[in-house]
């Protein structure tokens, strides 16, 4: 299910501003054109795609911020392997976008959501993701590609209700098909909305020709 929605141009806050200042400015107010077909698709299938949510200019700002965070990353001793992450608390443009998309998230779900986690997920060499469900602090996640060309996410609605250990066992089984599931690409300049805590998902992975980054903006019900 694809639809178009227009987000007013993101007014990027001062990149050196502390996060509290970013919050105070509330730079963007999203005016999503969310139709009932879209909300129904999310309800029934656990995901929905919305193209053209932001401009190319905003996309460039996100790409710049992602690249800068990756270039200056400080990897904690002992951390290994993908995905490496930077959080919205370190990324004013990303945080701004997360709050700007709040009305859209509420309109899509009909729930009184508020932002919880916000990340850049970096894939320097390979874009694989293990089969998993999302964090407890997520009733909805909005995903988008901001650097490189990550492959589609493979959704597994047939595996709803499985705990992580079961998902691990499924993926470790010799009969596991890495190409299985519903393959959903990241919409151009837009978002893939996903009930990621309910719908398990994975990506088999392929080599990245350049640094690849995906944003994951999580929302949780207020009460």
């Amino acid at each position: 299910m694809r639809a178009r929605a227009i987000l007013p141009e993101l007014v990027a806050p001062d990149s050196t501003a502390p996060i509290s200042r970013v919050a105070g400015r509330e730079p963007v107010r999203a005016a999503p054109a969310i139709g009932r077909d879209l909300t129904r698709h999310l309800l029934v299938h656990g995901h929905a795609m919305i193209e053209g949510v932001w401009s190319r200019k905003t996309a460039r700002r996100l790409a710049r911020e992602a690249a800068a965070l990756f270039a200056h990353r400080q990897v904690t001793s002992g951390s290994i392997g993908p995905p490496q992450q930077a959080t919205a608390s370190d990324a004013p443009v990303l945080a701004s976008l997360q709050f700007a998309l709040l009305p859209m998230a509420r309109a899509l779900t009909g729930q009184l959501l508020v932002p919880s986690c916000g990340w850049y997920n970096f894939y320097p060499t390979d874009d694989a993701i293990r089969l998993h469900t999302d964090v407890e602090e997520s009733d909805l996640v909005l995903l988008a590609s901001v650097l490189g060309e990550p492959g589609p996410l493979h959704l597994h609605p047939e595996l709803q209700g499985r705990v992580q250990s079961e998902l691990d066992a499924i993926q470790n089984d010799p009969g596991w098909n890495p190409a299985g599931g519903v393959a959903v690409p990241y919409p151009p300049l837009g978002i893939l909305a996903l009930r990621g805590r309910k719908v398990p998902h994975h990506r088999a992975g392929s080599p990245c020709s350049s640094l690849t980054a995906v944003i994951a903006l999580h929302y949780k019900t207020l009460w």
């Binding site: 990149s15 050196t16 919050a23 999503p32 969310i34 139709g35 009932r36 800068a68 965070l69 200056h72 990353r73 400080q74 990897v75 904690t76 002992g78 951390s79 290994i80 392997g81 993908p82 995905p83 490496q84 992450q85 930077a86 959080t87 919205a88 608390s89 370190d90 990324a91 709050f99 709040l102 009305p103 859209m104 509420r106 309109a107 009909g110 729930q111 009184l112 959501l113 508020v114 932002p115 919880s116 986690c117 916000g118 990340w119 970096f122 694989a128 993701i129 293990r130 998993h132 469900t133 999302d134 964090v135 407890e136 602090e137 997520s138 992580q164 691990d168 993926q171 470790n172 207020l222």
Partner: protein, 111 residues
């Protein structure tokens, strides 16, 4: 509509058993029907057997609420938790990942 947008974040309804339902303003906005359809809805409302105030099989409107600005920050967290939010430092994920309870990457300090 602009005044409503400025003052209301959600509507609250209740069912006959006392359960509350909080409907965000954005949901109300996408649920607005065309003016031409109002007569049809009026007709259905008249024919409805649902009672008002709410009986056990109906909903009643309790009012609207405005959230304090800080409510948006209630669940905002700088944590990295990948995947599945397990906050066990050092637990190794099968995908060659270490789950940490603090950010793996930090931005450079602003100059």
């Amino acid at each position: 509509m602009k005044n409503i947008e400025a003052e209301v974040d959600a509507l609250v309804i209740a069912d006959g058993e006392g359960n509350y339902y909080v409907l965000p303003r954005e949901l109300i906005e996408v649920s607005r029907i065309e003016p031409a359809a109002k007569a049809r809805v009026d007709k259905m409302l008249k024919a409805s057997k649902a009672s008002n105030p709410a009986g056990t099989r109906d909903y009643s409107y309790l009012g609207s609420i405005a959230l304090p600005a800080e409510a948006k920050w209630t669940h905002f967290t700088p944590s990295v938790a990948w995947p599945n939010g397990v906050q066990t430092p050092g637990r190794k994920h099968p995908a060659n990942m270490i789950m940490l309870d603090k950010p793996v990457i930090s931005a450079s300090k602003p100059k």
